[in-house]
């Protein structure tokens, strides 16, 4: 039981980038653009955050937070390529996303070589400091779990889930965004500028994925390397599908996947899991997503027009 309690904070650390990146994917797909470049954007965000943090660390204690901002900005700029290719040039969105994933790998390590003369950034000392909320952290059981030594991205993830839910389901922007993803011709006939909305969706996904990558590197590592993100962007895609393109679903799925990853570390301490090879735990999120895909396949749960090239002339 106590093992479970120690696992929870670790699970939160793993889950946060997954949830945040998945929310990014949600905004993009809801607007009608498939974005499988979440992985690449996370890499770019992670690199930017690590680089900025390591440079600013000697100068200010807020270096980590400025690094996060850098990650968000880098993610947004990188995602503009995908937006331009998909919306203006009507390129195949999956090919564009794949190209961006390859580009991210090359570009980030290249810049590491240029700035740090090695294939990784220089190691930063602290990254993001764990937070404790005074008072609340003294509540028995819940206190130590949720309010003591918590990794800040976790709070950010919860906040963003609620914010995303509000924006997507309660605001006019959200209604119009969803219309663009379900039936762009209908949206256009009501005077909505579909191209603009889709740009917004992709850039938001760039910001969130960049944030996720930044958070990941600053809380799970001491530097950025090519292997820093190791497929989390794709797990985020799975989390999005498993969570049925709904912010709270994403939260649940993300926590679940975070636990699966945390289990791999603690498996040796949990009796009935000891015999299971580590790799099974690593595989778990992917297998679950595959199953979810099959289960949901007939029910077309995702935005109806996502991935289709929007033909402005079709009436």
């Amino acid at each position: 039981m106590s093992i479970l309690l120690t696992m929870i904070p670790i699970a939160f650390v793993y889950a946060s980038p997954i949830i945040i990146a998945a929310l990014g994917g949600l905004f993009s797909e809801r607007s009608g653009i498939v974005n499988i470049a979440l992985e690449g954007i996370m890499m770019v965000g992670g690199f930017a955050a690590a680089a900025v943090t390591v440079v600013l660390e000697p100068l200010t204690p807020a270096a980590g937070y400025i690094g996060i901002l850098a990650g968000v900005a880098a993610g947004m700029v990188f995602s503009l390529i995908h937006a331009f290719a998909s919306v203006n040039l009507k390129a195949d969105q999956v090919i564009s996303g794949t190209a961006l994933n390859i580009l991210a790998g090359g570009l980030t390590v290249y810049l590491c070589q240029v700035f740090f003369n090695q294939q990784r950034t220089k190691a930063f000392r602290v990254g993001l400091v764990k937070l404790s909320v005074p008072g609340l952290s003294d509540i028995p059981v819940i206190g130590p779990l949720f309010f003591k030594d918590v990794s800040p991205p976790f709070y950010a993830a919860i906040l963003l889930v609620v914010l995303a839910w509000f924006v997507v389901y309660k605001t006019p922007f959200g209604l119009r965004l969803r219309a663009c993803g379900e039936h762009p011709q209908a949206a256009a006939s009501m005077g909505i500028k579909v191209a603009k909305m889709r740009y917004a969706g992709v850039v938001i996904s760039g910001a969130l994925a960049g944030l996720a990558g930044a958070a990941m590197v600053l809380t799970q590592d001491i530097q950025y390397t090519l292997a820093s993100v190791h497929g989390t962007g794709f797990i985020a895609l799975g989390c999005l599908i498993f969570g049925k393109w709904n912010p709270f679903g994403v939260l649940g799925a993300g926590l679940f996947f975070g636990f699966a990853q945390a289990s791999s570390i603690y498996a040796k301490d949990i009796p009935f899991l000891q015999a299971v090879p580590l790799e099974v735990f690593y595989m778990l999120p992917y297998v679950l997503t595959a199953i979810a895909l099959v289960v949901f396949s007939g029910k077309s749960v995702g935005p109806k027009a996502a991935g289709e090239i929007y033909d402005t002339g079709k009436r």
Partner: protein, 364 residues
Amino acid sequence: MAKKGSALVIPLVSITLGFALGAVVLLATGRNPAAMFLALFQGFSGVNVSAGSFNPRYIGEFIIQSMPIILTGLSVGFAFRVGLFNIGAEGQFLAGSMGAIAAALWVKAPPGIHVVLVLLAAMAAGGLWGAIPGYLKARFNVHEVVMTIMMNYVALNLNNLLIVDVFGSADRIKTAMFPASALLRDPALSALTNGSRLNWGFVPVLLAVVAFWFVIDKTAFGYSLRAVGFNKDAAEYAGMKVNRNIVLSMIIAGAFAGLAGAVLTVGTFNYGRALPAMEGYGMDGIAVALVGGNAAIGIFLSGLLFGMLKAAQPLMQSQGIPKDIASIIQASIVLFVAMKHGIDFLIRKIGARKRAEEVSEALI
């Protein structure tokens, strides 16, 4: 004839733009593009222009870098012809590698036969890994993109699991060495190229290229695959079995990628390896297929192009050019191809729709 010429334009323009972009990036970060081009030249020809020397080892390495990606390119390209995006080539590659390791370590057979069995086992394993998403697509319309990405990661972890727990590994990184009868290696070829890792793998590669061309262009089956890829409605209407074609072509695509895994594992290497991350042969295959126009000869040539980029990386690094410029160039080329296809698609659709509008309004 005009049509054939115009089909070359997109890849050639994209390649040029990709290299141009790479040169710009180098200049912007204070590196010399000329050094990169010299390294590329040396990478495939063995000729060191500045030193005036020649070393055939580079040619051998260039060939072995090209081989697996030509095969994964065939895999992706074959699936594209039926209208499917096979991002799963990476996982099918790993599956093939696992099949090859199993056949290399567990099957006893005389030399000559053994290596053929290894290749066949790899193709079967890759084919199986491709059959799963193919069946799910045909039967349940599960989108192959995310499904195959998931299967890639499952394959990676399965590979590591097998290496450590099933095939046996002393250091959790490598298996035991394979018996020589299972290998594509040949000391003669190595000697010919001054100690490179050149091996007989180029034979199955060439056979695969020919097989791709033959099946797609020359068989009734290939005809129906192409019909389904171009116009599913008309194909269905003419009585073709669309679902069966989808599954079969994913099996074949998986077999090509599986063969690539074998060529790497028993050709370039001679033991199985646990991998910390995917090595990207599948992604390379996507680039190769797209730039090669999904045609046999195009894939062969673009596989050589990207192989040249990969082979030149150590040379570049030693000249102070970060080797990752190769990935940047590769990604840019793919992006430009996708953009140009997008533009062409737009032009064609607008043209066709305008004509259709005119026609329907012209009803008297």
